[in-house]
Amino acid sequence: MLPRQAVLLIILAVFIAFSLAVKENFPFSDYPMYTDPDPVSEYYHVTDGDGNPLAVRTLTGITCPQVGKILRKRGDEHAKKLGTKRMKMPASEWEPICRETFADLRAKSDMLPAKMRIMHTTIEYKDGRILETPRVFFAE
């Protein structure tokens, strides 16, 4: 009979290994937030066709970070199928992902404009100040 400490350490190892293997499958998670601190941080937000930001949470119930999580998750899965990395995917590969995401947002609200954009902004530290660089990631 193994001592209690050994049994619990084995259970702990199995619990950790299983959670890391199954990743985001509720109730298990590998808690990927802030796990790879990078010199460049990034986020996405949604605007109308003219570039005016949309209060996406107020309109759809989906928050701005959740939009980012959807894009990153779908981007990672698509990139995996292509045998590449999400950040290296060409814009043409992102188009169906962005359109699907817009379709999901519109399913939650009928108050969204006919034309929307996804903006991608990078944040980095340069020359003693925080530099934010936005660009149009996808436009309808």
Partner: protein, 385 residues
């Protein structure tokens, strides 16, 4: 060195002594936390990116019109049974399943919310433990030491309370009781935060008052007393510490072992969170320049890295302190403080983590102190580690 290692090994995962009263208080506060954080309504009508059980089952029935109100009342029913200690090897797995299903559906929308895992995992751990204890100790499900008429009356009361909850939630949301109190006292100018606190301070005694009645009828039941052993507390602490440790492993794996050296870049995510908060609802309070402390942190990467690395160290230390009430209390308070610091700096708060740490990490030592204070008048309580 050998002596030190032997002592360390012997002191790893000690089984804490827990009285029936302490176990009842822990179950009661666990149920309070579970119901407080349980959503009052549900809107996810699809599961476009299934996770967990949603891979195999369509869970969208939960959000069908009228269903979730019933689901919530049934969840409340099982929570009251959990507090009373009735048939725990059955009650606990049912509470666990009912907690997991809506959260699984919510996380099947294409994004992950990380606020529910800690509660579901703790419940899962307790369920496994209760089944294991019931099997190995050949426990009967129905309490032998409580007359059938008494536990049948208890079931009736719990069912009536759940039905009343269902009815009143159609009129006023239970979590909105605080708003009603504020309105009736003329406190209409309170901020949303202050109203939230009033909600909480009304909700907790209201829930406790409702849960205590059926529990009194189950007093002396062995099905409740069998949780008055250290395994209940040890399991909860073990699962919570394990969840924090998983995030530590993730940090090292995903950063190729560089997390401790690159952690100062987390400061950039403070700006990201600020911007995301603004673009979620265009709330002008977040339309600000990056906080000065972010620039200061990036100007001092060494000290910033140490600041973040201490957090990881604390998360790692948890696993070694399980079962030691004084130390779990101390570390629990420090971790709760850490969560509030993160909330202040990043506007990213995990109240469910704070609740679980409070109930299973901080409170056990405070309960032991209460026992010591009242010991001369409460001589039947065993000593505790």
């Amino acid at each position: 060195m050998k002596t030190w290692l032997t002592r360390a090994w012997d002191n790893l995962f000690p089984l804490p002594s827990v009285t029936a009263r302490d176990a009842f208080i822990l179950r009661l506060l666990l149920a309070v936390a579970l119901f407080w954080f349980f959503p009052p309504f549900y809107l996810d009508a699809r599961q476009p990116e299934p996770v967990g059980l949603a891979h195999w089952f369509d869970l969208t029935w939960i959000s069908a019109p009228g269903v979730f109100a019933i689901y919530r009342a049934v969840f409340f029913f099982f929570l009251l049974l959990l507090v009373s200690g009735f048939a725990l090897p059955v009650t606990l797995p049912l509470v666990t399943l009912m907690h997991i299903l809506p959260a699984t559906l919510h996380n099947s929308q294409g994004f992950t919310f990380h606020g529910n895992q800690i509660m579901s995992l703790t419940l899962l751990g307790l369920s496994v433990m209760s089944i294991w204890l019931a099997t190995t100790r050949r426990m009967t499900l129905l309490p032998k030491s409580v007359p059938p008429a008494r536990w049948a009356l208890m079931l009736l009361i719990v069912a009536a309370l759940s039905a009343a909850l269902f009815y009143f939630e159609k009129q006023y949301r239970l979590t909105g009781l605080g708003s009603l109190v504020c309105a009736s006292l003329g406190l209409t100018s309170l901020s949303a935060d202050a109203t939230g606190w009033v909600n909480l301070f009304v909700f907790i005694p209201a829930f406790i008052a409702l849960a205590v009645v059926p529990s009194l009828l189950m007093r002396g039941a062995e099905s409740a007393d069998f949780f008055a052993n250290g395994w209940f507390l040890l399991t909860a602490q073990f699962v919570i510490a394990g969840a924090y440790l998983i995030s530590v492993f993730s940090k090292f794996i995903r950063s190729d072992g560089m997390w401790l050296f690159n952690s100062h870049y987390v400061a950039l995510d403070f700006v990201k969170t600020l911007r995301q908060n603004y673009y979620s609802s265009l709330d002008p309070q977040y339309a600000a320049d990056p906080p000065a402390y972010v620039v200061m942190m990036m100007n001092n990467p060494f000290f910033t890295a140490i600041f973040f690395d201490i957090g990881v160290l604390l998360e790692t230390a948890m696993i070694f302190l399980i079962g030691h009430r004084k130390w779990t209390c101390a570390l629990g308070i420090v971790l709760i403080f850490m969560h509030y610091v993160i909330a202040g700096m990043m506007n990213l708060f995990f109240p469910t983590h704070v609740a679980m740490l409070t109930v299973f990490w901080v409170l056990p030592w405070l309960l032991m102190q209460r026992r010591r204070l009242v010991a001369p008048w409460d001589a039947d309580q065993p000593s505790a580690k």
